[in-house]
Symmetry: C2
């Protein structure tokens, strides 16, 4: 679909050049020594923990990033193409809390995690499973990342994300995904898992994330290199300046990955927004969040790299009107920004802190609506329908016309949850309707069976690492 460009390409070039200047003159801290060594060998200047990037090194790395790749699911029918044109929707990521209207808000457990994986498996609108569908707080912290990979692989055959909690955890994720795809040799040139490393804003990387970038690159598995600036707290209180900072950080991560392994697939990922100065909090449902998305998308297109944009975001604590307006705004703008990997496409509340089961279903409706807008309007003789209009004539009716039967399913989005009847048909609120829907979906869930040998090998992998 057509993108919406809120700034000119000239402005994008200004942001790009400011980022290059930041990388060259201000530098990026990498606390992780192996990262500094790799970057120094690649041509960067290193002073203490700070790495300064020459412009040419950044430009070289950008040229090496492929503009497309296929992310494989263990069911090949669910492979997804990730390029600068496609739109893929990905589950919620990283929330420590979950919420449903029966049991209220609570810390997430492995049970909740598995239920979210199952729902995302069932939701046609979700193409890629998250890694931390919610934080399964009742699992052992040392093996949690592996439990998450295992349970995602077991309960869904869609492509999935992996851990970025350091070099070793990233390696575990990749090796486990490899088991499901026939071993490490089989995934050499086959992306089967994707990580999302995040910078420590402003202008730094911690050990874990830098380690994860290196691991994914070594295995030539794809990764999102992400920066989330809090404008006014960890970056300037201006969108342009914040994006210049974010972009400098992301480019530094891209350079690291490409220096490790030229041509390793990358998804450009930026997710900053404004700080609400009353609370000193990030606001992901703010209109600035949508503006960040539009500019981030434009920057990624300028680099010709697929981009991640955040989906249905909200700061509110329940699936209320605010959840509706913030989520529609952010998802619609994510699509208009040309987002190719739409993370948090459903379920997120409370500024990333909570996944709501009801909101998963509500956002599924929002995705359907936004996709319909993305399909646009077809104008041709059949849709213009002059002959039908002439036949029906003034004051006629179309409801029984064959043209109506032939077209309405294609042209009109079929609502799943929205109340459009003259009188509310079921007497339920939308949250209650969403509640019934996710329960029904779980009831109808069928496990896409994992071959027994793979299952055993995955379990053994976790045991060996305990």
């Amino acid at each position: 679909m057509q993108r919406y460009q809120t700034v000119s390409t000239e402005d994008i070039v200004k942001i790009h050049e400011t980022s290059l200047k930041i990388m060259e003159e201000v530098g990026i801290i990498f606390s992780y020594a192996p990262a500094r060594e790799i970057l120094a060998k690649g041509g960067a200047k290193v002073e203490g923990e700070t790495v300064y990037f020459p412009k040419s090194m950044v430009e070289q790395a950008l040229k090496q990033v492929p503009s497309s790749f296929t992310l494989h699911g263990r069911n090949p029918e669910k492979n997804v193409e990730i390029n600068t044109e496609t739109t893929n929707f990905v589950g919620p990521y990283g929330a420590p809390f979950v919420l449903d209207i029966d049991k209220g808000r609570r810390p997430g457990t492995l049970d909740d995690f598995v239920n979210i994986v199952k729902l995302c498996h069932k939701m046609d609108n979700i193409n890629i499973q998250s890694h931390i569908s919610c934080e399964p707080g009742d699992t052992d912290v040392d093996t949690r990342h592996m439990e998450m990979v295992y349970n995602t692989l077991k309960y869904s055959d869609k492509p999935l994300m992996g851990s970025v909690l350091g070099y070793e955890a990233a390696k575990d994720s990749i090796e486990m995904a490899a088991i499901a795809h026939g071993g490490l040799d089989a995934i050499k040139d086959k992306p089967v898992i994707i990580g999302i490393s995040c910078t420590l804003t402003p202008l730094s990387y911690d050990d874990k994330m830098a380690g994860a970038i290196i691991a994914y690159a070594e295995y030539r598995q794809p990764q999102l290199v992400n920066s989330l600036c809090l404008a006014g707290a960890t970056s300037p209180a201006t969108i342009a300046g914040s994006i210049a900072v974010q972009n400098a950080e992301i480019l530094a991560g891209i350079v690291l990955a490409q220096t490790v392994n030229a041509g390793t697939p990358i998804v450009y990922s930026a997710s900053g927004s404004s700080t609400d100065m009353r609370y000193g909090n990030l606001s992901i449902g703010a209109p600035e969040s949508a503006l960040f998305s539009l500019v981030n998308g434009h920057l990624a297109k300028y680099y010709n790299i697929p981009c991640r944009i955040s989906g249905t975001l909200s700061d509110t604590k329940q699936a209320d009107a605010q959840a509706g307006y913030e989520s529609m705004m952010t998802l619609l703008m994510a699509q208009m920004a040309g987002g190719n990997f739409i993370l948090h496409a459903a379920g997120i509340l409370d500024t990333y802190n909570c996944v709501s089961f009801e909101k998963l279903m509500i956002d599924d409706e929002i995705i359907g609506m936004v996709k319909r807008i993305g399909r646009g309007v077809t104008v041709n003789d059949d849709t213009l329908a002059f002959d039908v209009i002439k036949e029906v004539g003034p004051r006629g009716e179309y409801i029984t016309n064959r043209h109506t039967f032939a077209n309405f399913r294609k042209e009109f989005y079929q609502a799943q949850l929205s109340d459009r009847a003259r009188v509310n048909q079921d007497g339920l609120t939308i949250e209650e309707r969403a509640n019934a829907r996710w329960k029904k979906m779980l009831d109808a869930y069928v496990e896409p069976s994992l071959p027994a040998d793979i299952d055993t090998e995955l379990k053994r992998y976790i045991e060996n690492r305990r």
Copy 2:
């Protein structure tokens, strides 16, 4: 701001040409004889009640429509410019029911009407008062249109809309507005009230609406010529075909107005959407509604005529998540469509049937957010802030930086109702917060006094017409 064009200008031309063909070959029914006489004199072919428009007559009329005008309020500081670039937000129009969380849903009364006028007067985001802010069901049907004009003029000094319930009612509205502006001579070339006539789809006009078009044109007061097709019921189940029908109807109304008085100001107004085939109901919160808006806006720009697009629309029955996502979608797309006169900018629920006091406040927040997105992102040396970024350096903080204090109010939208705190600060739901807000706004309302002589004359006008 930049518009979002979902179809090409080539497609717009195809729609335009299909409309011309409909007007010429299928024709439009005008049941009102004076309208047929005017059109026949102007060059149209009339057979029975059906009027056939030669292409040249339509093209001539389109050339006569001004591309801009000023709509005057009785307070000149509140005048608005209506042209193809500005965005004006207008109150809710025409709902028979009202809703608040204290008293629930009920038929609207004059009390409710006055309260909505007062709230729209206080809301900075609303530039123009509606005519039927809600249907004041407890007033005499014969004088209701005048009661509405009187109470709108009395309780607000913003520009306002007038009646279209036939030639006489339109005339009453215009003459009453004239009283507030110093008499009929004073408003000869001064737009002071604006009507919205609606077609009877498909392809016809009833007596009242055709009469109103003639009245507004005779007084050279501006008017919206509106068509609301129910795709799949009163027009084809395709967006392109429905818009071709709507456009034919609207152009017929424009031709009528211009034939009465060449150069009379017009706002192009189309508001169709899809029919939900399960219920045979119009759905105004459907994604097709947003697509209609985008194409309608594009058509109006093609004609170089200011356009009305609908604002925060929803089919749900309360201010819930659905109200949030549908209203954000429709308003954001209204702005991206280049809407110049955004009717129903706040309050509408239940497919136009209800105005919610809480939703008025929630939509005020949505307008603020959408406006922020419309302002876009400023990219210059100050917003890129390289020197600030250098000064703060890696791992520094911006929260106490002077650049933050100098910029955050300009860059960040200040939320009025949205919950963005780590923990909900007031323990209220957004509906409860909205409830408190409209009551506070009503408490703070100060009547913009209507001079006593004008007040007396307006009351006398109504008495004389009883």
